[in-house]
Every structure is written in C-alpha cells, then in structure tokens.
Amino acid sequence: MSEAEAPEDDAGVVAAILAAIAAREPLSISGNDGKRSMLRPVQAARGLSGRNLSGITLHSPAELVISARAGTPVPVIEAALAEHGQHLVAEPPDLGRLLGTVAPATLGGMVAANLSGPRRIAGGAMRDHVLGVRAVNGEGTIIHSGGRVLKNVTGLDLCKLLAGSFGTLAVMTEITLKVLPAPESTATLAIPNLDPAQGVAALAASLGSPFGVSGAAYLPAAAAARVPELGAVGEGVALARIENFASSVAYRAGRLAAGLDRFGQSRLVEDEVSRAIWRAIRDAVPLAAGEEEAVWRVSVRPSAAPGLVHALAAADARWFLDWGGGLVWIAAPAEAHSHQAISAAVTAAGGTWILLRAPEALRAGLDVLPPPSPVLARLTRRVKSAFDPHGILNPGRMYAGV
C-alpha cells in the first residue's frame, strides 16, 4: 500500500472517498495506524488517515462535554481535560507498548475500537460516552448523529454503531464526548494469596458493596510480578480501587477491608502508587506479552472467569483479569491451535473475544472475532451496505467479505 492520504478537513475526506469509489479501489482507514495489528489485515490499494483532522473544537467543563476532531491524539485530550480537573470516564488504554507503536492513539481510533479501561466496570465503556459524531460514509456523504448534550434519544443512535465498527461503516471526522470530574483521591485494596476463584469472589463482593468500587482486577503471581508496586502476592492478588474525595476514600477503604476480611489480610495502596498500578492494568502491562506471542481480549460473565482460566492452562496461555473477572487478557503462542483452544474455551464460557494482536499471516486466515450467527451475519452485511454500499471502507477488517 502506498502512503495513506491524510486530508486536513472533511472536504478532503469526502474527496478521497469519492476518488476511491471512482477508481473502484478499497481504502484502508486509520488514524495514527497504531491498531494495524488488531483484527484482520485490510487488502487495500489506498489508505486514508484521519491523523491531520486534529484539534479540540469545544471544551465546556461546566457542561461536561468536549469535542475534538477525530485525529486528535488522546493524550492531547487528556491533558486539556486535566487542566480543568476532568478525565475520560472509560479510562481508555494506551496500547502502544502492546501493539509496538510509537505514535499516540487518536480519538477516532479509540472510539472506532471502543476500547475501555478498568473504569468500564463502574463508569461505562468508551461507546457510552460518545454524545455526537460527524463522519463521512462510504458514499462520500457527510453525516451527523447525536449532538453535544448529555441526553439525546432523537432518532437512531448511529454514534453507538460507529463506535466499535473499526472504520468499516464511515470515517469519523469529529467526536463529542461526555466527560466527568476526575476523582480527588484514590486508593486500592490489595488482597494477596488468593487463587482465581477466591480472587473473583473477592472482587464480586467488593463490586456488590455500596462503596463504589471503580476498578476490580485479579493478577496471578506471574502477572503481578510485572507490577513492582505490588510486591509479594503469593498465588495471586485481588485489587479493588476506590476513587472519591479524600475523606471518603479513607472511609470506604476501611469499610471495604472490613467487609472482605474473610478473604484474608488486605493492604491499602494509596494515591500515586495506586494510580501507577491501574495504569499498568489499563495498558495490559501485567500480561508481558512476548514479541512472538498473540494477545486476546476476552469478555465473559465474571463468575465464568475462574473456569475459563483453568481451561486456558491447556493452551499454554498466560492471563490476568480486569472488570471483576469480566475482562480476561490472554497471551499465548501465535499459533492457530492456540487460537482454536482459546476461542473454543471462551465460547464454551458464553463470552466473546477479539484477537488483539497477532502476526498478519495468522490474522488473515482466522476469525478475529466470534463468527456471527447466520441472522447476525446477514444484518452485519446489510448494515455495512447501508453505510458503505460500494464496500470500500476497511473491507474485511472485522469479518472476511464484509
């Protein structure tokens, strides 16, 4: 593929799409191209990047909204929010290290992949905070959905459909997000010496408490060893985060520790150390995926996680849990048989998976997402056709032939 075209405005995006339609050549859609090792490789003669569609266009802290053009780097948005004591609720991960890229993720890329971090368990996913989108569909037509207000049920919510569609439906050019005040203070309760079943039970108890736990992870010993702040953890450690104003954090941590004492002695990790631990969990650092390994991101019913990770032992896989057990990060040899074993185990557990990182040859020949049922496959093709009737936007990125 030649160098991607990177227009500086919507008109340029429209022109690039119209040119691709005229030439009958599909387009590979990207931001800073950091997620090219996710999902299926796109066979496209042309590239279209949103990276030059950059800049914050609206930030109204008292209205809890920020709008930015889709190519704006996520760290730029985070810095602007931080100036006003605010943050991105879904805590999107920085997967640069995992995906082997240097350039920061763009807002458009983060929304297109619907990537959420640890706070997803309490605050919702990236897609939950997308209030409005401007985009160009596969016919080169500019479309809007949603707006800049916090509540909006006017018409079909195309924002949600575009979030997580990996550039296969439309090229987003501007996105408006709901944001919230960042917590004044944070602390984490660490309970060591737990096996996966005990760990998930401890996390369920903490998430079922009235203390607003906003992060709930379980790291087996090998994963915990990658996070030096944790120290010795025995077989594994359950981590429950509280975020609030300072006196509340102290109170809640105390009450939570008392409520969890049947799981053993807990340790309180405060402020900067707590933040460092959750940054590592957010970015999948504890997985320590090797160069030669593939990485899967799995979503299951939390109580199914202990059984699932037990089954993974047969696949020579390493893992850790976030979202109270509901998110399973997995690294295993980049081999078709590992993929079969992992996807079968996840399917048996009633969950879903994304092949997040793998060599191109492997990704091209496998399902990178669970294959949809015949009805959903038909709806997928029809929705794709409703946005991109010529099939030129990121064809094959999610499913072969779509």
């Binding site: 909006n152 049920v153 018409g155 997580g164 109580s303 029809r382 056709s385």
Partner: protein, 480 residues
C-alpha cells in the same frame, strides 16, 4: 395535527383472514379482534391521538412473538410493538391496518445473579419490578423514569429511557448488557449477555432507543447495582431563573456531581405546593433539588460543599435535609409534579427537549415570552444537570384550536432547543409527536442514513411505521 399514512386497503379487506391466521399461529387466547376490546389499545400516554388497530396479539413467549412476526411479514401486515402504553410521544399509537404486539403478558423475571450483578427479565416486566426484585439484597436497577411503576423494560429499551438519576447512573443504554430480539422475518437473535463488551457491531447500542423500528425485544439482561449507603437532598430557592441556572453551572463545574439535580420554575413550584404541601418556597422564581449519596459523613461533606457553592448565588432560602424523612418531603412535590399540573389543567403536553446547560436562563426566558404570545400557561420542571427540559404546556382538549396552539408552542420550544445546540428529545422519544420536526435537527443526509439502517433491519418498513421518520418511501439497499 400529525398526518398518518393511508391504511393498506387490501389489508383492511383481509381483516378476518388475518385475524384467523394470527389465531392459528399464536393461539386463540393471544389475539384480540373485537372492536370494543380494541379500544383499550387505541392510544398511549399521548391521548390526543387515537386509532384502534386491526387486531392485537398478546404473546406469552418469544416463540409466539416469532410466529406472529413471521405471519405478519409473510402477509405484508404492519406491526406496532407495545409495552405498558405509557409513551408520551405516541410511540405505541396503532395504525388502522396494523397488528399491535403487546408484551404485557411476558412479565416474568427469569434470573437474578448478584455475583455477576445482572438480572434477565422478560420485556413486559415493569421498570420498578426489577428494583423490587433485587432490593432486599440492597441492589437496584438504575434508570428511573417517572412512569416506572407502570412502564415496562421493553418500552424502556425502545425509548432509551432516562430518569432523575441518570446524571450519575446513565440511561437505559448504559445499563443493558443483553437482549433477545425477534426480527420482522420472525428470527430469534440473542445479543450480548452477562458480559460487558460484545463483539461485532454495537447491536445493543443501535437497538436501544430505536422505538420499535428495528425488531421486537422479548428478553433483557440488565445490570443491577448495589445501592449507596444512603441519600439526602437539599432544596435551594432563587430570585430568578438566571441565578438558579448559574448555580447549576457552578455546581457541575465544581467537580461535585450530584446524583440528581432538579429544577422547577415558579409556576411549577406553586402547582406542586398546592398539590403536595411539601413546604416549597412560594416567593421564589426558581428552585433546585440537589441530591447526594453516601454515608452520613459523606453526605454531610458533599452537602456542605454544595451549600458553599449555592451561597455564592444569594439563595432566598436553603434547606438541607437532616434525615431521610426530610429528604422525602423535599422530593414529595417533585414526584407528584405531573399530577399537580393535572389538577390545574386537565390537559397538558409534556415536552422533552435538551439544551446545553449554559443556555438555561436564556431558554427559560424565551419560553416565558412564548407563553405570553400563545396565551398558554407553562410550567418548567426538568433535570437540570443534563439540560433535559420538561416544559408542561397547559391547554383545553375540548377546544381544537387550543390543542393546535399548544402543539405549535411545543414545536417552537423544541426548535429553540435545537437552535441553541440541543436536541428534540432527551428521554421520551420521537414517536409521532416529533416525527415531522426531525428535519429541524437532522439534515436530509443524516436522516437518509438512519432510514437506511432501518431498511437494513426491516426492508419493507413493517415495524412501527409512520413513527420517528417523516413520511417518505423507504430507501432500498443494494443487495448485501
């Protein structure tokens, strides 16, 4: 008045055959066809519009829903899904040639799982019944529309319902993890489940809030949350809407997000006080109800911070509840608001526009001017934290001119909401009420894209037609 499409003559002519066919696929007891019994389904929470349907089907299982839809699809019969019929936008208004598929008999709670914090229920379970089923363990289902005693979760899915507490807990779309749906072709599809992230396109996201345009929902898996230790409210009265609006902006900008932040203007205060005797300040032009959650000490801390902010705006009075009873008293008037307005004026339109919160004072000022221009009283009650306005326009339904004026006034308010950067509806849905206003908010291309998504699910436009989108021939998708 909103125009409805002409019924299909051939369907009306085949009425008896269609009723017989429905009885064959769904069972005798699941079908209503006697004209007198159809009257019960002729309208919903927007009673200015009435139209008895061709027939009503009341399935008890997902399989029955599938059989009914397969039959309707094969026969080209339009379908109007219905929950409790509490829609304020005419979302469940029948058509003369349509079969109403009512989900009220599907009212079982199927499973509750506290460890995974999810409950799976049938679409006809009421919103409040979900919380009722999990409250003994200290849990609740977060979205709390005012109609929660009656409205059903299937209807909440259709409208993406909100409520007073969505500033903190989000709306329906943020609290649903799984759906079982039936397509117009009669196929049963399971979406999501008890896990947080679903793979593939965001089917839940596009279905929730789709107003019955895409499929019929029969089962729902919702998140249940552990309730906070306690909650307490405060009431602040202000000398003007402007000052109250500025206080709202200062509160949200301060970093303290209350669980609820409700605004009432003078007409609303007076109506609610006369009805509920809640001790509301009758000298005030505007008042705020602010609620926080947590332990007693946490509530004290947050209420203290909020009080300090509000004091900067010279409140006429400020009452901080010191107990659950005092909190309940503060909420009493607000919760009875619709009944209170109903006492002053038996007929009112409840609007549902949303504005950027910075526009509150200007928009309220303009609504006041319009009220005088139209000669119709209006009371404003709304969720201030998220800018969701509920102006209640009072009129006389026995006077056709009065209704027409009220509708025109309402439309002007919604156009104003869009003009200042907001939207037509925050939680009630478009229905038929706002269908013809859609071009105010959306360009032709925007609407065309939404209509094409509708065609992807329902190529023949049989599902809840004539709602949401201005009447126009359905777009035909390229074969996929």
């Amino acid at each position: 008045m909103t125009i409805q499409p002409e019924p299909k003559e051939d369907i009306l002519a085949r009425r008896e055959e269609i009723v017989a066919g429905l009885k064959e696929v769904a069972g005798e007891s699941a079908v209503i066809a006697e004209p007198v019994r159809l009257r019960a389904y002729e309208t919903d929470g927007m009673p200015s519009y009435r139209q008895p349907p061709l027939a009503v089907a009341l399935p008890e299982t997902t399989e029955q829903v599938a059989a009914i839809l397969r039959f309707c699809h094969a026969n080209g019969v339009r379908v109007v899904p219905r929950g409790a019929g509490t829609s304020l936008s005419g979302g469940a208004l029948p058509l003369a040639d349509a079969v109403v598929v009512g989900l009220m008999r599907m009212n079982r709670i199927l499973s509750i799982d506290y460890a995974d914090r999810v409950a799976t229920v049938q679409a006809g379970v009421t919103n409040l019944a979900i919380t009722g089923a999990v409250a003994q363990e200290g849990f609740f289902y977060a979205p709390d529309p005012s109609s929660q005693l009656a409205c059903m979760i299937g209807g909440n899915i259709a409208m993406n319902s909100g409520g007073a507490h969505c500033l903190k807990y989000g709306v329906t779309a943020n609290n649903v993890l799984g759906l079982k749906i039936v397509t117009i072709e009669g196929e049963i599809v399971t979406l999501g489940g008890a896990h947080l992230d679903a793979a593939g396109y965001d089917w839940l996201g596009i279905l929730i809030g789709s107003e019955g345009q895409l499929a019929i929902v029969t089962e729902v898996t919702v998140r249940i949350l552990r309730a906070a230790e306690g909650a307490r409210a405060m009431l602040a009265a202000f000398a003007s809407n402007e000052v109250a609006g500025a206080a709202v902006a200062a509160i949200i900008g301060s970093g303290v997000i209350p669980v609820a932040l409700e605004f009432m203007d003078k007409p609303a205060i007076h109506a609610c006080e006369a009805f509920a005797h809640a001790g509301y300040p009758l000298d005030a032009e505007a008042m705020l109800i602010v609620e926080v959650e947590g332990s007693e000490a946490e509530q004290d801390e947050l209420l203290g911070r909020l009080e300090a902010i509000i004091r900067r705006f010279d409140p006429l009075s400020l009452k901080v509840a010191t107990s659950a009873e005092e909190s309940a008293a503060i909420w009493k008037g607000r919760k009875g608001a619709f009944g209170a307005i109903g006492r002053i004026s038996p007929d009112y339109l409840c609007m549902d526009g949303v504005i950027p919160t910075s526009q509150l004072p200007a928009v309220l000022g303009r609504i006041g001017e319009m009220s005088r221009e139209y000669g119709l009283a209006v009371a404003n009650i709304f969720h201030a934290g998220d800018g969701n306005l509920h102006p209640l326009i009072m009129f006389d339904a026995n006077d056709a001119r009065s209704l027409a004026k009220a509708e025109e006034f309402g439309a002007e308010i919604l156009k104003l909401c869009v003009a200042v950067g907001g939207c037509l509806t925050g939680e009630h849905g478009v229905g038929i009420e706002k269908r013809d206003l859609m071009p105010v908010q959306f360009s032709a291309s925007d609407l065309d894209q939404q209509r094409r998504v509708k065609s992807a699910f329902d190529p023949d436009w049989l599902l809840n037609p004539s709602k949401v989108f201005p009447l126009a021939p359905p777009p035909i998708l390229k074969a996929a």
